[in-house]
């Protein structure tokens, strides 16, 4: 029976793939710490007022415990929630030509409402750049600072082709409202990797972005102290902020889903192959049995 063999075949292929990817995913050690609520001082009930008040110091200290050995590189991500980077107004509010070409700085027609300030163009313009994430993390392990390597966190193609090496920030974050991080006006955009990472907009409202790498192995039960500047406003729209430390495998970060999906389908295929075999044994239908022709089933013909 063809169907049975197809099911078996799919099952045979899928189960090992599922196992391998699940194992890969299980090897990944991931530490997630939500800090948006915890970093608001207890006496501040109005979180929005807190975050918008630039006079209050935003420094916050968190302690993370390493559940398992983590081998270098350890990736540092921040995860935002309920942040619609894929909103239409947001996605289109950028100017690729401006980012790429120093001579096209005035190409800000698509950047509204963050295109111009006082008649001069903002570089980089647009809502995406303007709302760049500005929390910072510093890690200390056993009173030794863990340096966070922030180079090569963006895709090479973005760095080399989409962000010009001779384009420098201009008029950035000079408006009445500050969206996020300010950029070093002396560093070309192609070197501003945080910006490049941020501007590769996420597909879903919950997303992670790469912050940097820690190139040190960590042992199980190590404690890490994170000193973070809690600057970014997610309070106004009730978004969560999480800090994620994660190792990686050939498959990437922790992702049981893929492995489980493969396993499930594989198992289902085996099950169905079994069922069909049973069906075949219990209620066999002779192939090409003319009794199954509709005009043979009901003698009248219809």
């Amino acid at each position: 029976m063809q169907v049975i063999s197809v099911f078996l075949l799919v099952g045979i292929i899928f189960v090992p793939i599922g196992l391998v990817s699940l194992m890969a995913s299980r090897k990944v050690v991931e530490v997630v710490d939500r800090y948006d609520d915890a970093c608001v001082p207890d006496n501040m009930t109005d979180k929005l007022a807190y975050i918008q008040n630039s006079t209050i110091p935003k420094t916050c200290t968190r302690t993370l415990k390493v559940p398992k050995d983590m081998n270098s590189p350890i990736f540092v991500y921040y995860q935002l929630d309920n942040f619609y980077q894929n909103h239409r107004r947001y996605v289109k509010s950028r100017s690729d030509t401006q980012l790429r070409d120093a001579n096209k700085a005035n190409d800000t027609s698509t950047c509204d409402p963050e295109g111009m300030i006082n008649g001069t163009a903002i570089v980089p313009c647009g809502l995406i750049a303007w709302s760049i994430f500005n929390d910072t993390y510093a890690f200390v392990h056993n009173s030794k600072t863990l340096t966070v390597n922030k180079s090569d966190i963006s895709w090479k193609s973005d760095r080399e082709h989409k962000f010009g090496s001779n384009v420098f920030p201009k008029n950035f974050q000079k408006g009445a409202l500050i969206g996020g991080k300010a950029l070093d006006p002396n560093l070309p955009l192609s070197k501003q990797e945080d910006l490049i990472v941020w501007m590769r907009t996420a597909a879903l409202p919950t997303f992670r972005k790469l912050y940097g790498r820690i190139l040190v192995d960590l042992k199980q039960n190590d404690t890490i102290t994170v000193t973070l500047e809690n600057n970014y406003n997610t309070y106004s729209f009730g978004g969560k902020k999480k800090l994620v430390l994660s190792t990686s495998t050939w498959l990437g970060g922790k992702n049981d889903f893929l492995g489980l999906a493969y396993l499930t389908v594989g198992a289902l295929c085996f099950f169905l192959a079994f069922t069909f075999t049973l069906l075949y044994l219990i209620k066999p239908r002779k192939l090409g049995d003319s009794n199954y022709l509709s005009w043979n089933r009901s003698p009248a013909g219809r």
């Binding site: 991500y77 909103h87 963050e114 193609s157 907009t201 597909a203 729209f237 999906a261 169905l272 022709l293």
Partner: protein, 1105 residues
């Protein structure tokens, strides 16, 4: 509309998204139209610029056709076409006649005579013609080809004009050096143009249902948009500071006015989801149908009639799939079921039957009764004369032997009547052997040919005389040419059902000869001679029951006074402007009375080859066949028996006017029955609505129905009764002008390109050469077309729904902002490139079972009648899986954006995810097609692989370039980024398989537990691929008709006594082919070449099981 919307700022997509597919679609249809227009234009140009000689002063000047004006005097030379409707003034022929060929108008290739008015005969030279002065009064331009009323006023004299003086545009001049005429109608006012205007356009029911589907899709689109719009209104809020919603914000995102936001988002979403409407579907369908017609139907060798060199011809490409759903066939009898090759078979003269042949119908009847009649060939006198139109043998009256019969005078009148009362034109050398007759109907030719064989050889016709070479009684053995003056011809038409001539013998005797249908003639017979009438009546019935067509012949002697007074009235009627036909009929009544019956003729109308087998197959396929004929009931029933439409197992009901009988039958509700509806009941029923319902209700439970004595209009009424009343798909097939209305009334009209001219073919949607090809046309081509189109439509529906739904799910996670999930170009090329070709390939090549199996299991056709493959249920299944798959596509790929992938830990962005999703969609949708098709050829693989490759090629190039257009560089390098991760490959393997998992499961369960008929048959014949070849061999042998013919002929004498079938051993078969070979047109070189090319295509098409 959507394209316009997409150019406004509220659109989420670049205008290119909608404009590109739309314009491609438009472009394709434009090119098609432009091509046709160009051809038409060229055609027009060549016609408009054709030159004709127009009288200018006293010279003929060559002028283009387009400059022609009403009133111009023109000269037309031999073999030229008439540029406009002309009034015929004069010709080079001495007696003011010219011969025209009307093949362009009605396809009849026989020459017709036109005769100028005597008054105008002289205006032949330019000097004389320039003096022509006159006024023409005529009717308004109309589309009736065979009528014309008008007057010519010359020298204050009113001369009536008749169709006889009118030369219609489109005809051509023959056998005449040149003629001179006056232009009366030009351009669009010409009759041929008036005729060409109203071509009723037919749309297939599948397309109508498709419209409903599109409406449903629009409804879905609207619902999705409303959901999205409401969501957007609710979502939009200033709290999302990163959206910059404070201060001045454009309307669409202004949180202060959520209602406007919702409305505008609605439009946004309409443009975004517009892909749910398959714009390219119509174009694809059109293309598929066009190719189906031109490549498959027109080139099918199994529908190629070698003897007449006619292939099948699809005249419209709209109705292919309709052929797969036909439930009722309305068939004409003459020329459709029968060959319309009339042969003079028997006659009854003065109460005596002559002729010894036995018709096939009689043989069939004998077979039914259980007795066998030996084939008659062996017994026939070897000297029996066989020729076209004549298949008669009786030593008593052949070769002048009639003189010794008891009634030689009757015989003489009989033969004279045959030789004189007709409108046949002789052609060829004036010897009995080489002369052939050109007649409007083959009956007439057969009758004249009979007269010839009885010794009354009609060989020349002038406008006023008919010259007959008689082997005269009085002078034994001698031959005498006698010229009979034809004084009047009272022409045949369908209401009169008779034809008369008044002629003057050389000795001055005035006589009226009349021939016509029995009831018409009997009404007009003089009193007396009851015995003879009675025996003749019996003979008529006997002939009728033998399936012969009968005509009664009668004459009447006229006195000079009688004639003179009548002729005056006749001339008056002839020159009347209004109701001329009616008046002529009335005048004819005055003289066609007190007739004396001479006898009657019986002409055999042979069944076409393979008709009974074809009808059996079709009824096995669940198609109900109705025969609508103008014949008498007995003839009709006998023909029905002969072609297995009726057999002894069926109950028969003969329904005439009594309605009680109908009710009674209805109460019984027996499914297996035959009803014959005679004329009266139909007439009444059609008038009376309640009866109409009764009739319909009754007829619908019958297997087959024979309607006798129906007029052309009633044929159409019956067809539309079933079409409208029963809402079933109907097909009409016929060959003659009388079937045109029926052909146009039914869903599908089929014309037999046979003997009765081209009117039926011109009105039809498909033209075939033989009735038996209907099996191929319906069971093979129709069924395949239906299956293919169903597949194409459902598949289009599925792929667009799947695609759009992924977009819809994404909308939920973008704050209902209408952000597009896919890049503009992905979206616009999805339908046009990435998924277009395979579905067209399926539309062209998919077949569930081979042609021979389709015919072997005609029951398969019922799936089409039940419309099994395009039910809402089928669509619902597709829709369900589209829903399921879209969820798989969206959520499985979107989940990917959560983590870093690959060892670099970098995160994928929106466009990475969407490209991945799109890749999965393209792969899955293409693979799904492979699952859906029944026969997978290398074309399928090629196109599916090609589409997927096209997508990858496109994305490789597209994401590698940066353009300077106003376009965000979203997908730049995306595919390379994706391909640097293992995750991408794993997803690409996982998602399509999970997506197709459901479909696969469904299909296997369906196939296992509830198999379709065709699937069972596929299984039955899975292991015998050889069968295709063996079955097709005899069909391919069509390729050498000559060999086959000689084979058949050589087989004939030995087999004759054993057969009672009728396909190949019929009495006239040998002679038929002999005459065909002698007379037949030699095949033209191009024809051979074309057949050779068909030969090459044949294995290609059929070789793939």
């Amino acid at each position: 509309m959507i394209s316009i919307l997409s150019t406004t700022p509220i659109s989420p997509v670049h205008p290119v998204t909608n404009v590109v597919p739309l314009s491609l679609v438009l472009l394709v249809s434009l090119i098609k139209e432009a091509f046709e227009d160009w051809k038409r234009f060229q055609n027009d140009m060549s016609i408009n610029n054709a030159h004709v000689d127009v009288l200018q002063g006293k010279n003929w000047e060559s002028t283009p056709w387009k400059r022609l004006q009403v009133g111009d005097i023109v000269r037309i030379k031999q073999d030229c076409y008439f540029p406009a409707d002309l009034l015929f003034l004069s010709s080079t022929n001495p007696d003011g006649v010219c011969y025209i060929e009307t093949a362009n108008l009605d396809g009849e290739t026989n020459l017709k005579i036109r005769k100028a008015l005597e008054k105008t005969w002289d205006y032949i030279l330019p000097e004389k013609a320039s003096e022509f002065k006159g006024e023409i009064q005529c009717e308004q331009p109309n589309n009736s080809l065979y009528t014309f009323t008008g007057n010519l006023i010359m020298d204050k004299q009113i001369i009536p004009l008749s169709p006889n003086q009118v030369l219609l545009r489109g005809c051509s001049l023959r056998n005449t050096e040149y003629i001179v005429g006056i232009v009366i109608f030009t351009g669009h006012e010409t009759k041929v143009m008036m005729n060409s205007m109203n071509v009723p356009s037919k749309r297939s029911t599948l397309e109508k249902k498709l419209d409903k589907l599109i409406l449903a899709l629009f409804a879905t689109l609207f619902t999705m948009c409303v959901i999205g719009a409401i969501g957007s209104g609710v979502f939009i809020n200033e709290k999302y500071f990163y959206l910059g919603l404070r201060g001045h914000v454009e309307n669409q995102f202004n949180p202060k006015n959520k209602f406007v936001v919702a409305i505008l988002t609605m439009f946004t979403l309409i443009t975004l989801y517009s892909t749910i409407i398959p714009i390219s579907l119509y174009v694809s369908i059109e293309m598929i149908k066009f190719i189906q017609c031109t490549q498959f139907i027109n080139n099918d060798l199994r529908m190629y009639h070698a003897e007449s060199n006619t292939p099948a011809l699809a005249r419209t490409s709209n109705l292919n799939e309709e052929l797969g759903q036909v439930e009722y066939i309305f068939s004409d009898k003459t020329g459709t079921l029968t060959r319309n090759l009339m042969e003079f078979f028997k006659c009854s003269i003065g109460g005596e039957i002559y002729g010894t042949g036995i018709t096939e119908i009689e043989k069939g009847g004998a077979e039914r009764a259980g007795t066998w009649i030996d084939g008659d060939e062996g017994k026939r006198s070897t000297a029996a004369i066989h020729e076209k139109g004549f298949n008669f043998d009786d030593a008593r009256i052949m070769r002048g032997a009639w003189r010794n019969e008891p009634n030689p005078e009757d015989c003489k009148e009989f033969f004279r009547c045959l030789a004189l009362c007709h409108t046949v034109l002789p052609e060829g050398e004036e010897t009995p052997e080489k002369m052939s007759y050109q007649a409007a109907s083959p009956d007439e030719a057969a009758l004249v040919a009979a007269a010839k064989n009885f010794g009354f050889f009609f060989y020349r016709r002038t406008p006023t005389t008919v010259i007959v070479r008689e082997s005269h009684v009085e002078r034994m053995g001698s031959i005498q040419d006698v010229a009979y003056e034809i004084l009047n011809v009272l022409e045949f038409n369908s209401t009169r059902k008779r034809q008369s001539v008044v002629c003057r013998f050389p000795n001055g005797r005035l006589i009226l000869y009349c021939k016509g249908a029995d009831n018409v003639i009997y009404e007009r017979l003089s009193e007396g001679n009851h015995d003879m009438k009675k025996t003749s009546r019996e003979h008529l019935e006997q002939f009728g029951s033998a399936g012969l067509r009968t005509l009664c012949l009668a004459y009447r002697d006229l006195s000079r006074e009688q004639y003179e007074s009548w002729n005056e009235k006749f001339i008056q009627a002839k020159s009347s402007l209004r109701d001329r036909d009616k008046k002529l009929d009335e005048v004819a009544e005055l003289i066609e009375k007190d007739l004396i019956l001479i006898g009657c003729t019986a002409i055999e109308d042979k069944l076409q080859e393979g008709v009974p087998a074809c009808i059996e197959t079709l009824s096995a396929a669940g198609i109900k066949i109705w025969v609508l004929t103008g014949d008498k009931m007995e003839t009709a029933i006998n023909i029905a028996y002969a072609c297995s439409l009726i057999n002894n197992d069926m109950k028969q009901f003969i329904i005439s006017s009594e309605t009680d009988a109908i009710r009674e039958v209805e109460d019984r509700g027996d499914p297996v029955e035959i009803a014959r509806v005679t004329k009266d009941s139909v007439k009444q029923s059609l008038k009376n609505p309640t009866l109409r319902v009764d009739l319909l209700g009754l007829s619908l439970i019958c297997h087959s129905v024979v309607c006798c004595r129906v007029s052309p209009l009633q044929k159409a009424q019956v067809a539309s009764l079933v079409k409208k009343g029963a809402r079933k798909i109907t097909l009409s097939i016929g060959d003659g002008a009388n079937d045109v209305s029926m052909i146009q009334a039914a869903h599908v009209g089929i014309g037999i390109s046979g003997q009765e001219g081209m009117q039926a073919v011109m009105a039809s949607d498909f033209a075939i050469a033989q009735f038996r090809y209907l099996t191929d046309l319906l069971l093979v081509h129709g069924r395949w077309s239906y299956l293919r189109l169903c597949k194409v439509i459902t598949y289009f529906f599925y792929k667009n729904l799947t695609f759009t739904l992924t977009q819809f799910w994404f909308t939920f996670q973008t704050g209902f902002s209408g952000q597009r999930f896919y890049d503009d170009w992905f979206q616009s090329l999805y339908n046009v490139i990435f998924t277009a070709l395979p579905v067209i390939i399926v539309g062209l090549f998919d077949k569930d079972v081979s042609a021979s199996l389709s015919k072997k299991y005609p029951q398969l056709y019922q799936e089409g009648i039940r419309n099994s493959f395009f039910k809402w249920r089928v669509l619902a299944v597709w829709a369900f899986f589209a829903f399921y798959q879209s969820i798989v596509f969206y959520y499985f790929t979107a989940a990917a954006s959560q983590n870093g992938h690959g060892s670099s830990g970098r995160i994928l962005g929106l466009w990475d995810v969407s490209t991945m999703a799109f890749t999965c969609v393209v792969v899955t949708v293409n693979l799904r097609l492979l699952m859906a098709c029944n026969s997978i050829t290398r074309w399928h693989y090629f196109s599916v692989a090609g589409s997927i490759t096209a997508w990858f090629l496109f994305i490789f190039i597209y994401s590698a370039i940066m353009t300077s257009f106003d376009r965000q560089e979203n997908v730049y390098f995306v595919i390379y980024v994706l391909m640097s991760t293992f995750f991408f490959y794993l997803t690409l393997l996982l998602v399509p398989i999970i997506a197709l998992f459901g479909d696969f499961l469904y299909l296997s369960i369906q196939r296992w537990l509830y198999p379709y008929d065709y699937q069972v048959i596929q299984e039955m014949h899975k292991d015998d691929p050889h069968e295709y070849n063996t079955i097709q061999l005899p069909e391919i042998s069509h390729l050498s008709p000559e060999e086959e013919r000689s084979f058949q002929i050589s087989m004939l004498p030995r087999e004759t006594s054993k057969h009672t079938g009728f396909a190949f051993d019929s009495p006239g078969y040998e002679s038929f082919f002999a005459s065909q070979q002698g007379v037949g047109v030699p095949h033209k070189p191009w024809d051979v070449a074309r057949r050779a090319s068909m030969k090459r295509q044949q294995p290609q098409r059929t070789g793939r099981p």
